[in-house]
């Protein structure tokens, strides 16, 4: 990675003329950014829902699951991508293994917390009404755990949007690609605009998910 030289005084933070002719560049980067994030969140949910349910049902699984993903979570993303590159190359697989792994810790923890927050009285009542375990899980426990799960989805989404920028190092990056380009070409506009867009995307996604949460579970006020 050639390091850029030094601040070029003549280069403004945002060159609006250049920006106005390069909107598609940002649109493409934004789209890739959203795709990489969406795959990570959906993939994370697919893994963490059963894991969380299992860790809740069989308590002995709880600490090992949280421990293993907790250690995975501390591994810096750049290092993780670098560890995977010799095996999966400069590919979306490399990016998603890391991104999904990170979302799993956040989501599993919140699935467990959500399931644990279901009052014992409610479970007793459901059993008394004749709910079988699976029906009780799907129709009583998971809906009541939804506020905590949604809170996890929001944190995971915002976190992932930030982490996606780092996948620029393995040739992806979404908006991160433009941050890297700004660095390499010593050109402020893509750097600044992509950083601002990344923050905006995270905040918009968080608000949208908060809205979805209000619609899906009107009985619980969004945090």
């Amino acid at each position: 990675m050639p390091a850029a030289l030094f601040l070029d005084v003549a280069d403004p933070w945002i060159n609006w003329t250049w920006l106005s002719t390069h909107v598609p560049l940002f649109a493409d980067a934004l789209q890739q950014h959203i795709t990489l994030t969406a795959i990570a969140i959906v993939g994370g949910l697919i893994l963490s829902l059963p894991l969380g349910v299992a860790a809740h049902r069989w308590r002995t699984l709880r600490n090992p699951v949280l421990g293993v993903f907790g250690i995975f979570y501390t591994i810096p993303s750049l290092a993780l991508f670098a560890l995977l590159v010799p095996y999966t190359g400069l590919s979306e697989t490399t990016a998603e293994v890391g991104l999904i792994g990170y979302t799993v810790l956040i989501l599993v923890r919140n699935v467990i917390v959500g399931l644990e927050s279901v009052p014992a009285d409610v479970l007793d009542a459901a059993d008394g009404m004749g709910y079988r375990p699976l029906a009780r899980l799907l129709r009583i426990e998971l809906p009541l755990a939804l506020p905590a799960i949604m809170a996890g989805v929001r944190i995971a989404t915002v976190t992932t949007i930030g982490l996606v920028t780092i996948t620029a190092i393995i040739g992806l990056g979404g908006l991160g690609q433009l941050i890297l380009r700004g660095l390499i070409e010593n050109f402020h506009t893509p750097l600044v605009v992509a950083t601002v867009l990344s923050i905006a995307l995270a905040l918009v996604a968080d608000l949208a998910l908060a809205g979805a949460q209000r619609l899906a579970i009107p009985w619980a006020r969004a945090e």
Partner: protein, 235 residues
């Protein structure tokens, strides 16, 4: 396996441990950058979070600073700091310190808020003044969560310091960035192992420090390390 063998060989060569690009030097740079950044961040964040928590004011700000901090891409902030301050450690420390602040503010705010109001009432009844109450009652009880915030920030700073190599900084990230540039996957992999080990060691050793700092009276109540008030990952 052949590839992993080459990584092991890389580690066994004495030349990779000494000199300006040796592991000892790079590790020292990484730890120094991280420690400076966490210290600067803590000097700003802890007084703010503790004051907000003590007076119970601006709770939304203290909580939401973490949400916003999480939305800021560390990579972008590092590169922008580099464009403003140029080469050297200064842009790195400024960017990393900025990233270290939100979890420490949120955790120390929550830590102070979670001190049992009955205990504070009892201390006031015993004649504790405001400052004595804060220093001798609230802070000792808040230590686990405050430390959890410092731990969260420190692990994130160690992780993000890896990115410093992208803006020509030192640290263990050098092996990863240079490994990519030279397509030297052995060096790349070795660097990644070193960074992962350092991040995990930071987490575990700070968790141990946290346990030591918990007041004796509280240790009887709960020994496990405090749950973070906010998960945080920016790099």
């Amino acid at each position: 396996m052949d590839f992993l063998g080459s990584v092991v060989t890389w580690f066994t060569e004495a030349g990779h441990w000494s000199g300006p690009d040796g592991i000892v030097q790079r590790l020292a740079e990484h730890v120094q950058l991280s420690a400076e950044s966490v210290a600067v961040g803590a000097l700003i964040a802890l007084p703010v979070g503790i004051a907000l928590g003590h007076y119970g004011r601006f709770g939304n700000v203290a909580i939401n600073v973490s949400n916003v901090g999480r939305a800021v891409p560390s990579f972008g902030i590092l590169v922008i700091a580099f464009q403003i301050f140029g080469l050297g450690d200064l842009p790195i420390v400024i960017a990393l310190a900025a990233l270290a602040i939100p979890p420490m503010v949120t955790n120390s705010y929550v830590a102070l808020r979670e001190v049992d109001p009955d205990i504070k009432e009892a201390a006031r009844g015993m004649g504790y003044r405001e400052l004595a109450l804060l220093l001798r009652v609230e802070l000792p009880l808040a230590v686990p969560l405050v430390m959890a915030g410092i731990r969260t920030s420190a692990v994130q700073v160690v992780a993000t310091a890896t990115l410093a190599a992208i803006i020509a900084g030192g640290g263990l990230g050098r092996y990863i960035i240079d490994g990519f540039a030279q397509q030297d996957y052995t060096k790349l992999f070795a660097g990644a192992v070193l960074v992962a080990v350092l991040a995990t060691a930071t987490e575990l050793s700070l968790a141990a420090v946290e346990r030591l700092l918990v007041p004796r009276g509280m240790r009887l109540l709960r020994t496990p390390t405090a749950q973070r008030a906010a998960t945080f990952k920016t790099a």
